[in-house]
């Protein structure tokens, strides 16, 4: 080897200066002492098994991760967790692809160019926190803390952020649940104080045996499951439902009915697939209820639909029944037929009378059965509330609520968690504002943009979709002590969400975020994006904070089981790059606000109290399981029925408890992170059924469900003995106190207050049920619906080997030829890079597609794979390729949720295909916000299709 001295001779002197920059020695490496080196040598290559909860999708299955050399080496399902019973799906098993993605957010960054230009520079955490802290302090001073929205995007591990912002002084903390399936859970929330109703198919269940022992029970009891617009085989929020549905079919002869305009993956396992028009779920449920009420005959075993014992455990049926029947005498202006009759429903749903009758009969006669409705039905329609309420009634009157093999309200029975860590207590802090020259005192809570705002004061779970309006116009407080107060929205903190793409129409979000005032400053003064992934919403942010991924932070599962189960989301590896855990981010920002003089933020509530993330999670675990000792078999026969249970399964079992008779609480040793770690990561308390009645008598136990009367409530606002009851009571009281001022949402449907029992109104943009839209039917002959492609959500589009797999008709191999860097097995050799950039031939890679019926396509001269424009009556359109098949009802078009038009490069191949993949949300009417809770009518739209 010849030595060239030129560089040395010519540059040495000058570069000496450069070298001098390194006076402190090593920048990135350190010398190990011999003992340190030996310790590291010895530990290398060894596995350590840790238990955690997944967050690759919202199912949050229990996982077992094998850690070697500080990295995740293997991922398995955790056999101890009944949610997934040891299974890891392809998505769960792909965790490393996301955690170790080279495209993760790695460092805090501050925007340099205009919003949306995507120009950022790296800053230190101190700089980023300083920037955010100063802005927040300034906004609080100028406009009040309520001007900040903390949107946690995903429900997972949100509590740290809620706590901080409640303490800062804003009640406007939310997560995506507010736009996810709100109307779906409305009926359960109103009538039993719960949320999501699911079939009793989580297996195994831990069940108390007659001899007092506990047994893992794998037997299925279900005989019929009706999934309406619920597609657990694809949109898995509740993982056990996919294997449970098959299990119940195979092992217990359970029949499965799927009601969905499209032939979903779940429909492929069904005994019956019914494909009604979109947005007619409530029509079908209403017709089922009418049929059952009209045809029930207690003396005929083939017509004994109703189990009238439900009346013992409920109140208000007479009112509900009368209100429902009052519609039978009315004629529907759209078809002149009597509401809820078979003829009426057949005309509106497009199903035959026979199909509806058969379904009603089947559901009435089969026990145990579960009628379940999902996000892709009531959850996406303006009037979904009505379907959800009738759905509850159907399950209750047929005697299927909370029976073995029936339907379970998972919210009522899941373990409690969060406790005082969530910081709810900060919302009751007293604050003052000047209104019309007068000083008014109220609580932080009373600023809530929805609960006390002018639009949706019964928005139990907030209304994210309405944020663009709030950014533009601010919030009018019309209820509660601050009535008459107006405040702007000036700060938007978005964490693990992608609201610009998914929170209703993206163009409206972009307009609102980019809007400037007269002086040329952004109206929204601060926009922070916190996540592990770079999603579209990050491109518009002022500051990006990299959050530790789900494998790098500590928290708890958030799941929907049939009884109390809670498991650890353990931090199985150290946070990569410079990402930080939510506890650290909370503490850093809290400390900064405190330093800047915010007296609402105290060290004793944050950094002094939570020295580690484990401290925080232990506080979250303190109330677990927090449910009452009710049902058959009684979970703990040794304790009084109806008492609240707190503590580890172990301590409750062994009797290491104190019994507080005054407050009716049995308290064992608190569940802690450490306890979970020592018990395969999971705490499981016993299952029981019939939780609404005494275990030894046919009468209510007055401890369950969670309503004002502790009974199932068929009426929603009533007075009795000088006291007022019901799920809508408090909202109507607000309206009354405000002199009868009707909120915007109710005004839209012609209501003057929240109804006291059964109610009905029509959905929007549906020419087949709402006369207002009949005129559009000819020019816009298709109804547009959407649905999730499980493995093509934002987080997993980054994982090409998941995205590649086709799903139903909305995610098909219809790509144009493109090049992308994807992980493919590479030929070994001298040049391993040659195979890195893959060329994907046309039609080999699954992309977002437009699913339509073959006959519809033929009529329009459209062939499979043709590029089309889908346009709505608002003049908005999206482009994509057609997947034509018989597996969808004629007159329906389905597009996957957020599958196309993805304009963030971080999404890999999905970005490459953005110009010919459809964005369903571009077609959503941003002004269709459902009247009670303000969520967007994602599936209320009609369109026409033109070949490009």
């Amino acid at each position: 080897m010849q030595v060239s001295r030129r560089v040395f001779l010519r540059y040495a002197a000058a570069l000496g200066g450069v070298a001098a920059l390194n006076k402190s020695g090593l920048m990135t490496l350190k010398n190990l002492s011999p003992s340190e080196a030996e310790a590291m040598q010895t530990s290398m290559g060894k596995y350590e098994v840790k238990y955690t909860a997944d967050a690759m999708c919202p199912a949050e299955c229990g996982m077992e991760m094998w850690i070697k050399d500080g990295k995740i080496a293997k991922i398995y399902g955790n056999k101890a967790v009944p949610m997934n019973d040891g299974i890891a799906c392809a998505k769960g098993a792909s965790g490393q692809q996301l955690v170790y993605s080279p495209y993760r957010l790695k460092y805090p960054m501050i925007r340099v160019g205009e919003r949306g230009s995507g120009k950022f520079k790296r800053v230190t955490w101190d700089e980023a926190i300083d920037h955010i802290g100063k802005k927040l302090a300034d906004i609080k001073k100028k406009y009040g803390a309520e001007s900040a929205i903390m949107d946690c995007g995903d429900v997972t591990d949100r509590d740290h952020y809620y706590r901080l912002f409640f303490a800062y002084g804003t009640p406007n903390c939310t997560e995506h649940g507010s736009i996810c399936d709100t109307p779906r859970r409305h009926g359960p929330k109103l009538m039993v104080g719960g949320k999501r109703w699911e079939p009793d198919i989580m297996r195994p269940q831990l069940v108390r045996q007659p001899d007092g022992s506990l047994k893992k029970d794998y037997t299925y009891k279900s005989k019929l499951i009706v999934y309406n617009g619920w597609n657990p085989f694809v949109a898995t929020r509740i993982f056990y439902e996919s294997r449970g549905t098959v299990g119940a079919k195979v092992e217990n002869g359970c029949k499965v009915v799927v009601i969905d305009p499209s032939y979903s993956n779940t429909a492929t396992a069904a005994d019956m697939w019914l494909a009604p028009r979109a947005g007619t779920d409530g029509d079908l449920f209403g017709a089922m209820l009418r049929y059952i009420l009209e045809n029930d005959n207690q003396n005929d075993p083939n017509k004994k639909y109703i189990n009238w014992s439900f009346k013992k455990y409920s109140t208000g049926w007479e009112d509900f029944d009368a209100a429902f029947k009052s519609w039978w005498g009315k004629k529907d202006p759209i078809n002149g037929l009597s509401y809820f009759s078979l003829d009426w429903a057949a005309d509106r749903t497009g199903l035959s009378k026979k199909q509806i009758e058969d379904l009603a009969h089947l559901f009435g006669i089969t026990k145990p059965a579960a009628l379940v409705w999902g996000m892709q039905s009531p959850g996406h329609h303006y009037n979904g509330y009505c379907a959800s309420i009738i759905g509850v009634a159907l399950n209750v009157i047929t005697g299927n609520f909370d029976i073995p093999g029936g339907v379970i309200d998972t919210e009522l029975v899941k373990s409690d968690k969060g406790g005082s860590a969530t910081g709810k207590q900060f919302k009751s802090k007293k604050v003052k504002r000047m209104i019309d020259g007068k000083e008014v005192e109220g609580e932080v809570e009373h600023f809530h943009m929805d609960l006390f705002g002018s639009k949706y004061p019964a928005a139990w779970d907030d209304a994210v979709a309405d944020y663009p309006n709030a950014f533009m116009e601010g919030v009018d407080v019309r209820y509660g002590p601050f009535r008459g107060y107006h405040y702007p929205i000036k700060a938007y903190i978005l964490r693990t969400g992608n609201s610009i793409l998914t929170g209703s129409a993206p163009y409206k979000w972009k307009d609102a975020i980019l809007a400037k005032d007269a002086s040329g400053n952004y109206k929204l003064e601060l926009y922070v994006f916190i996540d592990s992934l770079n999603l579209e919403s990050a491109l518009y942010a002022d500051v990006i904070l990299p959050e530790a991924s789900y494998a790098e932070r500590q928290s708890l599962s958030d799941i929907y089981p049939s009884h109390q189960v809670i498991y650890n989301r353990d931090a199985v590896i150290k946070p990569l790059h410079e990402s930080k855990k939510p506890t650290e981010i909370m503490n850093m920002l809290a400390r900064k606000l405190h330093e800047l003089g915010d007296s609402d933020i105290k060290g004793s509530d944050f950094w002094e109290k939570y020295k580690t993330e484990e401290d925080f999670v232990n506080e979250m675990l303190a109330p677990a399981p927090g449910r009452v000792n009710v049902g058959t078999p009684l979970p703990y026969p040794q304790y009084p029925e109806g008492y609240k249970l707190i503590g580890t399964p172990e301590s409750l079992e062994k009797g290491e408890v104190t019994v507080d008779d005054r407050n009716k609480v049995v308290k064992g040793k608190p569940v802690t992170v450490e306890w979970l770690r020592n018990n395969h990561g999971v705490a499981i308390w016993p299952m029981s059924w019939y939780r609404y009645k005494k275990h030894n008598a046919d009468e209510p136990n007055k401890a369950f469900p969670n309503t004002s009367t502790k009974l199932i409530e068929f009426k929603f606002d009533w007075a009795d003995g000088g006291k007022r009851y019901g799920g809508y009571k408090s909202y109507n009281e607000k309206i009354e106190k405000a002199g009868g001022e009707v909120p915007l949402g109710l005004r839209e449907i012609g209501f003057s207050k929240f109804p006291s029992t059964f109610f009905w109104f029509e959905t929007k943009w549906n020419p087949y049920t709402n006369p207002e839209y009949k005129k559009y039917a000819k020019d816009y002959p298709f109804q547009l619906i959407c649905g999730r492609v499980h493995h093509a959500m934002s987080g997993t589009q980054m994982i090409p080997w998941l995205g590649e797999i086709k799903t139903e008709g909305t995610w098909q191999p219809m790509n144009n030829e493109f090049e992308a860097e994807v992980p493919e097995a590479m030929p070994m050799g001298d040049e391993p890079m040659k195979a890195m950039k893959m060329k994907f031939k046309a039609n080999t890679y699954a992309v977002g597609t437009i699913w339509m019926n073959t006959d519809d396509a033929k009529k329009a001269g459209i062939k499979n794979g043709d590029l089309v424009v889908v346009e709505n009556p608002l003049g908005k359109s999206t482009k994509g390729k057609v997947f034509a098949s018989g597996g969808i009802r004629p007159g329906i078009i389905k597009i996957g949720f957020a599958t196309g038009g993805r304009f963030s490069e971080g999404l890999g191949p999905a970005y490459k295909t953005k110009d010919y993949t459809p964005s369903h949300n571009d077609l959503v009417d941003p002004d269709v916000l459902s009247p009670i809770m303000g969520f967007p009518g994602y599936a209320d739209m009609i369109v026409k299709v033109k070949k490009v």
């Binding site: 080897m1 030595v3 060239s4 001295r5 030129r6 560089v7 040395f8 010519r10 540059y11 040495a12 000058a14 570069l15 200066g17 450069v18 070298a19 920059l21 390194n22 090593l26 920048m27 990135t28 490496l29 350190k30 010398n31 190990l32 340190e36 080196a37 590291m40 040598q41 290398m44 050399d69 990295k71 490393q96 692809q97 170790y100 993605s101 080279p102 495209y103 957010l105 790695k106 960054m109 340099v112 995507g118 120009k119 950022f120 520079k121 790296r122 491109l539 590896i573 150290k574 990569l576 790059h577 410079e578 860097e821 994807v822 992980p823 590479m826 391993p832 890079m833 490069e905 971080g906």
Partner: protein, 211 residues
């Protein structure tokens, strides 16, 4: 076999270059760093190393009157090329180029960790910062080079030879397998002569069997 004094001079030269590159690829440049570079003169170009050095020197000199803005430009370009938030075109980790999964922290990273450990070293922020970041690998080379010089100068020839071998192996067996691809990525993705120049030097080092 080279004369020992010649070899030491060569090593000194390489140490400077590794140090220069380490600073360029580990973080956004500091003002002091740019000022130092301004003191270097342009030379006739014989190979990619010269070409790279000249590109850097010329561009830094040409921005003499706007050094603060230039620093800002460079920090934006650094973020765009190597960090994000949009997909950075030149991922600075070996495992991205050498693992089938194209992820970071792969077995390749662990192999690099083992090589550091053989030299009695470890990454300061172990398990968080991937060991095979180009900046860390360059620092490792710089360290080995410096140590080798030191040992030679103190007459510990056996130890010096051992470290020299280690250095050669790391450079030839590991870095040569990915650096050219990384450097090409930089060259094709940037209009900026500062980073383009640094990438040419990287390529030159590997191509020439160092110098």
């Amino acid at each position: 076999m080279l004369m020992e004094s010649t070899m030491i001079e060569k090593l000194r030269e390489e140490r400077y270059i590794f140090n220069l590159l380490k600073h360029i690829f580990w973080a956004e440049p500091a003002k002091e760093f740019l000022r130092d570079i301004q003191n270097v003169d342009i030379i006739p170009e014989e190979d990619e190393i010269d070409r790279g050095l000249n590109l850097i020197i010329e561009t830094v000199k040409s921005n003499n009157s706007r050094l603060d803005e230039y620093l800002n430009d460079l920090s934006l370009e650094f973020a765009r090329l190597f960090i994000g938030p949009k997909n950075p075109p030149a991922i600075p980790y070996a495992s991205f180029y050498l693992s089938e999964s194209k992820t970071i922290m792969s077995d390749v990273t662990i192999d690099v960790r083992k090589m550091y450990l053989d030299a009695g070293m470890a990454v300061q922020n172990l398990y968080s910062i991937p060991d095979d970041h180009i900046g860390i690998e360059l620092e490792f080379l710089q360290y080995l080079t410096e140590k080798t010089i030191d040992l030679f100068e103190h007459g510990q020839r056996e130890d010096a030879s051992r470290l020299y071998e280690m250095r050669e192996d790391f450079l030839n067996d590991h870095m040569a397998s990915w650096i050219p691809f990384f450097a090409d990525k930089v060259i094709e993705s940037t209009q900026d002569d500062f980073y383009k120049g640094a990438a040419f030097i990287l390529k030159g080092i590997i191509k020439n069997g160092h110098f």
